[in-house]
């Protein structure tokens, strides 16, 4: 199955980010001021349920970030299995049927026939113009008109049943684990959970998890026989496209922050702490940068990159690598245009902190500037960094959609919600209207952005000292 691993730039960065967050998690667990607010986050109902949904997205995105050359069935002269020149991800491999079952052109969600009439030659040799049957969608039905609705219900039933079964198993495992940790009986834990007398709202967590599992199994079951969100112009499954776009959205939302953080933190704190000419220089830099329209910068950078890529086409082994480089550059250029906001916030905060008594006391002890910044200023602005990162995430996901819509976003060959919306522009003008591409991308983006926004609200409430004291 798996041939040689291909590590794309963004893959490497995203796994670095995962490692970094894990390291931060371990560091935070030892620090009361960081652990406390996170405790508040997981104690909030909105917090845990959005966390479940977000982690579903993250799992898909991470699975989609392990790339490799798949092995082919044929063998070369040396008896070795040959591998395809194509690069696919672990996620692609898991949903191979979705990826490979291509229709001819548009078909509506759960349809059995194409969306366009074609000349069909009947067995009798007669040629009629009608909607032809799909190659894969509902292909197992003998007589679609009569069997279709019953088949949908049957698959739904099976999906829900499987989903329920898995949810029950998961719930029981969790209760057993909790019982082991709290050292009480299984029944006692279950009773406490149902009455919701726990500090962490396990009931809400389980309810969300169960619904996610239900939806998951339902769609697995249906998509095994149908295209649940239809197919696009070239007959590709829209559900698959929307799922693949998750990685793009997540990458833009997180890597951009990774790019901007060092600059924003370093420059912001330096400007606020040293004041004087350092402050002037940094302030002028970001005011200048801020006064250039961001879209203009992004367009210029992306167009330049496009020219470079077309002049050096031989440097890229595959289309995926090419698209990946463009994605990375998009992240970088978005980062370059978006660090100023956080930088300004941090400058103000550092300016306030440098006059605070404990910093003055440290100066009176003869502590060096670097140590003061690392030990006294940085830990006391971390909450601002965290709040900004979480709040910016959803904005960046939406920004990607807008940029791809005007063709200066990710590569057109790459799956992204923005590209889907972009192509839907023409589909909406068609008669009859093809609405499912737009709907699918909106639905996936909406769920992600809404949960990210709700989650960031919870995080901000937990970390913002002013909000905390007023409660």
């Amino acid at each position: 199955m798996m041939g040689e691993l291909v590590i794309l730039w963004t893959d490497a960065l995203i796994f670095m980010l995962v490692l970094f967050s894990m390291a931060f998690g371990i560091y935070a667990a030892g620090k009361e001021h960081l652990r406390g607010p996170w405790g508040l986050v997981v104690r909030s109902r909105v917090g845990v349920s959005t966390l479940v949904i977000l982690s579903f997205y993250v799992v898909v995105g991470l699975l989609d970030s392990v790339h490799f050359h798949p092995l082919l069935d044929s063998k070369d002269q040396a008896g070795q299995q040959t591998q395809s020149a194509e690069v696919i991800s672990l996620f692609d491999y898991l949903v191979t049927p979705l990826r490979e079952r291509q229709e001819k052109t548009y078909s509506a969600p759960l349809a059995t026939h194409l969306y366009a009439k074609e000349s069909i030659e009947l067995a009798s040799g007669e040629v009629v113009r009608d909607f032809p049957r799909l190659t894969f969608g509902g292909a197992h039905l003998e007589n679609p008109e009569q069997e279709w609705s019953r088949d949908i219900w049957r698959l739904t039933g099976i999906g829900v049943l499987k989903g329920l079964l898995v949810s029950v198993v998961v719930t029981n495992i969790l209760i057993a684990l909790l019982a082991g940790r709290w050292k009480t009986s299984f029944g006692a834990v279950a009773k406490v959970l149902i009455k919701e007398e726990t500090t962490v709202p396990w009931r809400v967590l389980l309810a969300t998890l169960s619904s996610v599992i239900l939806v998951l199994f339902w769609s697995i079951e249906l998509s095994s026989q149908y295209h649940i969100l239809g197919t696009d112009k070239v007959g590709e499954d829209v559900f698959y496209q929307a799922l693949k776009s998750i990685r793009t959205g997540l990458l833009i939302g997180t890597l951009t922050t990774l790019v901007m953080l060092p600059a924003a933190i370093l420059l912001g704190i330096m400007a606020g702490y040293y004041r004087g000419w350092v402050d002037d220089l940094i302030q002028y830099t970001y005011t200048t940068l801020n006064s250039i329209p961001g879209v203009l910068l992004i367009a210029a950078a992306i167009l330049m990159l496009q020219i470079y890529m077309s002049n050096h086409a031989d440097e890229f082994n595959s289309l995926v690598e090419r698209a990946d480089l463009r994605l990375l550059f998009l992240c970088i250029i978005l980062g370059v245009t978006s660090w100023t906001g956080l930088c300004r916030l941090l400058r103000g905060e550092a300016m306030k902190l440098r006059e605070v008594d404990y910093v003055q006391a440290a100066v009176a002890f003869g502590v060096g500037h670097f140590t003061i910044i690392v030990r006294h200023i940085l830990p006391n602005v971390l909450h601002i960094v965290l709040i900004t990162v979480v709040l910016d995430f959803s904005g960046l996901v939406l920004a990607e959609a807008v940029l791809s819509y005007v063709n200066i976003g990710v590569d057109p060959t790459m799956n992204s919600w923005g590209n889907m919306i972009n192509s839907a522009r023409l589909e909406m003008a068609r008669e009859p209207v093809v609405w499912w591409s737009l709907l699918a991308s909106m639905l996936f983006m909406f769920v992600l952005v809404l949960s990210a926004n709700l989650f960031s609200d919870v995080v901000r409430d937990a970390f913002d000292p002013r909000l905390r004291s007023s409660r």
């Binding site: 620090k31 009361e32 001021h33 605070v356 008594d357 404990y358 003055q360 006391a361 440290a362 100066v363 009176a364 002890f365 003869g366 502590v367 060096g368 140590t371 030990r375 006294h376 830990p379 006391n380 007023s470 409660r471």
Partner: protein
């Protein structure tokens, strides 16, 4: 009785939800008569502000009134609907707050803000409204009210803003004025003005004042009756005169004993052990029992209110045996007499120190002038001695401290510490000398990084100064220091927010001691603390001075602390020292008119030593634009022609002190 204005019965206010709400006010009874000044006295967190807010029904969102009755005249306030309650607030009763800076809207002129209050009470006729605004401003003693109505709050000084607040409160001609720490944020000379104003207004309008304060001195100055609050309950109510002569409750007695003054110089101050109990519990024993020096068996049951006369009473089991209730005189263990440091070379010698902050203006940030925060200060401190630097806020005393430590770069002048000239040392050389000069700040909350453990905080200086390189030894030293300042050893692995204000200040002291300094600059180390806690810190500072031979530069505005702790006093006004001398001489017989006014404005507890207050008109001028000649002449009651043109030099007097005043030179 018909003259009762406000009657509060068994008021209970809870804060927060959940199974353990904070019972901030737990069964408070009080009565206020028409036209009297009733002081509610208590330490921070005892529920006195919550009582006032409950009466006004202005509780924060987390608070709710659980029970009780509040009668204003015949109206039961707690039963009124909100719209009727709005009529009462600002109508028959009004409130002024501690922070005049944040109580006024910065984007409205004061005329508009007072006008708003007047319009609600008196209708909308614009002309009569304008007249009323002027009349109100006049009545609170704001000079030139016609011009002032068009000014914005930032153009007024703190004292002026508090007057505007009072004027707004008076707009509805209230019968009851609730003043929540009205002078705590103000300087003593301004405090004297405001207290005086309140008294005058009371005489004119016959309103009653509920004065909430923690300052015994303020109570002594203005109150007719006093109620002492402790942990959500009133524990003693008394006529002011009797209260100060013969406090009944052990807590009240201890409060008096813990006040520092010059007579107690050779003793340790009395302290109340421990801290105020958490109010989120149900008390079965007396709330003060754990801290009481006279607790006995009966105290395990909560004491009932014992009325001593019509409107006096006490909540203590001792009151059941009146002969026991009398204050017993406790002999405090005394300090060793301080070894004389005369004849030794000065540890610190500051000569003509100037710190000027440039004022920038315009696009190119040209310097258009200087704020002369410190303008030529000279002082010396001998090893093991304490010099107190006294002055009102904004006079530059904190900047002197920071200038000596080189936390702000002095513009001019010399700071000689032992043999080194600190102003010219390279930053590397300065860094290595830092261990010998340390600082303790006013606000114990802000002076420790909330993200660091106590042990890391204390170790920081040792690490930076490379005093103890071995981490195990450093650890041991942290334990030793914690013990010295009287904190348990397990404090080391906790965070600063887990400690009370007094304990935090102890940690700050330990941190300063960690590098073995010879001089500690104490920047108002007790002004954020309650009286009983202040006594603990003062005791600690004094005993450390004796055992380690520390010298202190004690920056404060609290004269009684000066009297207790200092050997020498320097009085600052607008960036310059106006009088300097030994503490006995200076406090007993101040020569400079500013020192005289400052000392007379300090509210004193003992009625015998009450002097006539020399009222200073106006506020301290801005150090960006000091008056010509003697800085003090615009406010000086004895200014002469000469004072307007020349600044008097600091001249020595025969008794050894230095004074900068022409009158004194002339021999008065």
């Amino acid at each position: 009785m018909s003259d009762i204005l406000l009657k509060v019965k068994n008021l209970q206010t809870w804060l927060g939800e959940g199974d353990r709400p904070v019972r901030a006010v737990d069964g408070v009874d009080l009565t206020i008569r028409k036209g009297e000044t009733f002081a509610l006295l208590g330490e921070s967190g005892c529920g006195k502000s919550m009582t006032a807010l409950s009466i006004m029904r202005l509780l924060p969102p987390a608070g709710r009134i659980k029970g009780g009755q509040v009668l204003l005249g015949k109206t039961s306030l707690l039963d009124l609907p909100e719209f009727a309650m709005r009529e009462e607030r600002g109508g028959r009763m009004a409130m002024i707050f501690q922070e005049p800076m944040t109580s006024l809207n910065p984007v409205m002129t004061i005329g508009q803000q007072i006008g708003e209050a007047v319009r609600i009470r008196e209708g909308v006729d614009k002309e009569s409204r304008d007249l009323r605004i002027i009349e109100l401003l006049n009545s609170v003693g704001i000079p030139d009210p016609e011009r002032r109505v068009g000014e914005y709050p930032h153009q007024l000084s703190g004292g002026m803003k508090q007057r505007v607040m009072i004027a707004m409160a008076l707009a509805g001609r209230p019968e009851l004025l609730i003043a929540d720490e009205p002078t705590t944020a103000l300087d003593v000379t301004i405090q004297a003005q405001v207290l005086n104003l309140l008294k005058t207004l009371q005489q004119q309008t016959g309103m009653a004042i509920l004065l909430i304060t923690h300052d015994l001195g303020v109570v002594a100055e203005v109150a007719d009756r006093v109620a002492v609050m402790y942990a959500g309950q009133i524990i003693e109510v008394a006529e002011s005169e009797r209260f100060f002569r013969l406090p009944q409750h052990p807590y009240s007695q201890k409060l008096f004993q813990s006040l520092p003054d010059s007579n107690k110089r050779s003793q340790r101050l009395a302290v109340i052990q421990g801290s105020v109990p958490a109010l989120n519990q149900i008390f079965t024993a007396c709330r003060f029992m754990d801290r009481c020096h006279r607790a006995f068996g009966d105290c395990h049951t909560a004491p009932e209110w014992t009325a001593l006369s019509d409107d006096e009473g006490v909540r203590c089991h001792l009151s059941e045996q009146p002969e026991l209730l009398q204050s017993e005189v406790i002999q405090q263990e005394s300090h060793q007499p301080i070894a004389s440091g005369v004849g030794q070379a000065p540890l610190l010698d500051v000569e003509d120190l100037k710190v000027h902050f440039p004022i920038h203006k315009g696009v190119f940030k040209r310097t258009v002038g200087y704020v002369k925060a410190v303008d030529g200060v000279s002082l010396t401190i001998a090893p093991g001695k304490t010099l107190a630097l006294v002055g009102e806020s904004g006079c530059g005393k904190t900047t002197v401290g920071k200038g000596i430590l080189q936390l702000v770069k002095p513009t001019e002048g010399r700071v000689t510490f032992e043999t080194d000239e600190l102003t010219t040392l390279s930053s590397r050389a300065l860094r290595s000398r830092r261990s010998e000069l340390q600082i303790i700040f006013q606000d114990p909350v802000a002076s420790m990084n909330p993200r660091m453990l106590v042990s890391d905080i204390i170790e920081e200086g040792m690490k930076a100064q490379k005093i103890v390189r071995d981490s195990a030894q450093r650890r041991a030293r942290v334990m030793e220091l914690l013990e010295q300042v009287g904190l348990p050893a397990d404090s080391a692995s906790r965070y600063p927010h887990e400690f009370s204000g007094g304990q935090r200040q102890r940690i700050c002291v330990a941190r300063a001691l960690a590098v073995d300094p010879k001089l500690i600059i104490c920047d108002e180390p007790t002004s954020a603390l309650d009286v009983s806690v202040q006594a603990q810190i003062l005791n600690l500072l004094k005993s450390l001075q004796l055992s380690r031979g520390l010298a202190y530069l004690f920056i404060t505005h609290n004269i009684s602390v000066v009297a207790y702790l200092a050997d020498e006093v320097a009085v600052m006004y607008l960036g310059r020292i106006v009088e300097r001398g030994s503490v006995d001489l200076l406090l007993a017989e101040p020569k400079h008119p500013y020192t005289q006014a400052l000392l007379s404005a300090v509210p004193v507890v003992e009625s015998t030593s009450r002097r006539t207050v020399i009222r200073l008109e106006g506020d301290m001028p801005s150090p960006a634009n000091p008056p010509t000649g003697c800085h003090f002449h615009p406010r000086c009651p004895i200014a002469m022609e000469q004072c307007r043109t020349a600044y008097p030099e600091l001249r020595p007097l025969p008794d050894g002190r230095l004074v900068s005043c022409f009158k004194v030179e002339d021999g008065l």
